[in-house]
């Protein structure tokens, strides 16, 4: 069997399952990478229940918490990861800088390692066995239409401001949505959470109650499930303030519509994605998969993703694939010296613009919590379902 006959099947959300990556893999590594893009519920479902349907899972860290115990994934040997040392600290010990505080929620490093290849429970510190190789991550906040709002927005609490009645939106993915809700409730001063990433039943009830009330009052125009829905809501002016993801902002802007990824005083809600290997991968396929992972960290993908507004796990390598202007704008938070283009050629920022929220350190440094799975997850899910249905 030759390497070029190998086909690896990868699935994940539309965020990073881009066909361009597959093409580049074919070019650089010679084997075929098949990409299937799904919505995030389906991603969890497939990772947890259909181990035979994929070779590589591109999932988020908090999903890993659910999926790992099923035994569908295999741990990765750190020694085979060439650039392990260069991976950002967030994914290893949880700290961006040595003095950083670890945010609430399912921080990636807490589910990033296991004791041994067969272990189904997570290790508390770095080991030789990684669950996921971090790929991309970002700090999320509210997106707004400054042209339609016309005043500064500073707090998560604005999401429920009656001023935006019928023009607000939130995402309908329970585990992420509940975190956004928590940010809002805390900002409003309604609830003080011990750990937003692991709420008690009472906290869940209270949070949902506040939002249900708002929903009944017609605060929300719609809910969205994938980032592109949020783009359409924002771009068409149906919504002026909503929880949003970075590339969505980029997409709105690329249509020449003013849209800001508003830094807020309470901080960001952050997430991280990584790729995991199916248990069933062995032999040449497994080797190819490692090759793919190493290639992934080599920088081409990082540059490709960073130019859309994400961060890469090994930023230094990505730098080589970006112009100084791009690096300055996206990573360092500097003013753009000329127009910033997306990898697809759309103008995302004009010369002189700076990135919302500033540099990597500023943004990732003010993360208030990570996307998470709670102990009371099932209860939360039911409550969420009720919220949507109410």
């Amino acid at each position: 069997q030759e390497i070029k006959d190998i086909t690896l099947r990868q699935f994940g959300t539309g965020v990073s399952n881009l066909n361009e990556v597959g093409q580049k893999v074919k070019e650089d590594l010679g084997f075929t990478l098949e990409m299937t893009a799904l919505d995030s519920d389906s991603v969890t479902q497939r990772a947890a229940t259909q181990p035979d349907s994929f070779d590589i899972a591109d999932i988020e860290y908090w999903i890993c918490k659910k999926v790992w115990p099923t035994g569908n994934l295999q741990a990765m040997d750190v020694s085979k990861i060439k650039r392990y040392d260069q991976i950002v600290g967030i994914f290893k010990d949880g700290k961006l800088a040595p003095d950083s505080e670890i945010a609430q929620g399912t921080a990636p490093h807490t589910v990033g390692f296991v004791e041994g290849p067969e272990s189904t429970s997570f290790a508390n510190e770095q080991t030789n066995w990684m669950t996921l190789i971090p790929t991309i991550y970002n700090a999320d906040t509210l997106g707004i239409r400054p042209d339609l709002i016309g005043r500064p927005i500073e707090s998560w609490a604005e999401l429920l401001n009656p001023e935006f009645k019928g023009k607000a939106s939130i995402l309908d993915i329970s585990s992420i949505g509940i975190m956004d809700m928590a940010m809002v409730c805390e900002a409003m001063g309604e609830i003080q959470y011990a750990d937003k990433g692991n709420m008690t039943k009472e906290e869940i009830d209270k949070t949902i109650a506040i939002f249900t009330e708002a929903k009944r009052n017609g605060q929300f125009r719609a809910f969205w499930k994938t980032f592109d829905e949020s783009v359409n809501l924002m771009a068409s002016g149906e919504v002026v303030i909503q929880s949003m993801w970075s590339p969505a902002i980029t997409a709105v802007k690329s249509r020449g519509i003013d849209c800001v990824y508003q830094p807020l005083k309470e901080g960001y809600r952050s997430w991280g994605g990584g790729i995991g290997l199916s248990k069933s991968l062995t032999g040449m396929e497994l080797d190819a998969a490692y090759e793919y992972i190493n290639w992934y960290l080599d920088g081409w993908v990082g540059g490709f993703l960073m130019r859309q507004g994400y961060y890469s796990a090994v930023p230094e390598t990505s730098k080589e694939y970006m112009s100084a202007n791009e690096w300055g704008y996206w990573f360092e938070g500097k003013e753009a010296s000329e127009d910033i283009l997306s990898p697809f050629g759309d103008v995302l920022a004009k010369s002189g613009d700076t990135r919302d929220g500033g540099s990597f350190e500023e943004r990732m440094g003010s993360v208030a919590c990570w996307n998470a799975v709670m102990d009371e997850n099932q209860y939360m899910v039911r409550k969420w379902n009720e919220f949507i249905a109410s």
């Binding site: 539309g14 066909n19 361009e20 919505d39 359409n232 771009a235």
Partner: protein, 278 residues
Amino acid sequence: MESRSRSFYVLATFFALFLLFLYGPTITIAILSFQGPQGGLTFPMNGVSLYWFFDLFEEQAVGDIWGAFRRSFGLGLMVMVTTVVVSVAAGLAFRKKFPGAGILFYLAITSLVIPSILISLGVGLIFQQLGLKIHWATSGFGSQLTWTLPFGLLIMFAVFNRFDKSFEEAARDQGATAWQTIRFVILPIIAPSLLGVALFGFTLSYDEFARTLMTAGSYNTLPLEIFGMTTNVTTPVIYALGTLTTLFSFLIIGVFILTVFFMQKRRSRAGSDAGKGV
């Protein structure tokens, strides 16, 4: 020509409005699919171009439209052939009395009225519990049949309700065996209706969404792909795709109608004395 009553004009207006209602949105997206390269999913138009149609033929950021189209087309053909064969056979069976006919009939009705998501859920669960791999050509195929077969069967009932039994008796009288009777008499006579069943089978499958949602496995069919695109794509390319699939549906109907038309035309080459005396 004779004058029409006032109610005719009222109803005709109503009918015209109904058509506008039916076609309006489709026409809207057809127009929007000609957006300029900078255009979005909503009005106003941002220039006029064929950009998004060309874009459709380029590789998209995510997904695999043409693969999905090929799968849907293939699946549509599989479902079409199976639906025709199975419903004709069942239609023939229901003309005789056999034990269990009542139950089978009500099962078919159940199959027609059961919420699609239940089929999806149930089939998904079974495959999962049995450790089978779901795939559009196995679980997806079976799930779609639960939707197309009852339709096919109902059409066959309609056909056989109108089928004159004396044709079969005449065939038997002429020495045809049971199989020859089906092959040379029944099938040719009901052929136009079979085309209808085929058309139903194909398009129901080609557009089927809910029953395939959880039973298609790793590879999307076209409706699933479109569904995915509604959440993943933010450009008018999805309208271009919508416009093209609609045109494709028209093409299929057109082909079927033409086939029927030519079948009839071929039959009526000679002149006619129908209705005359001797």
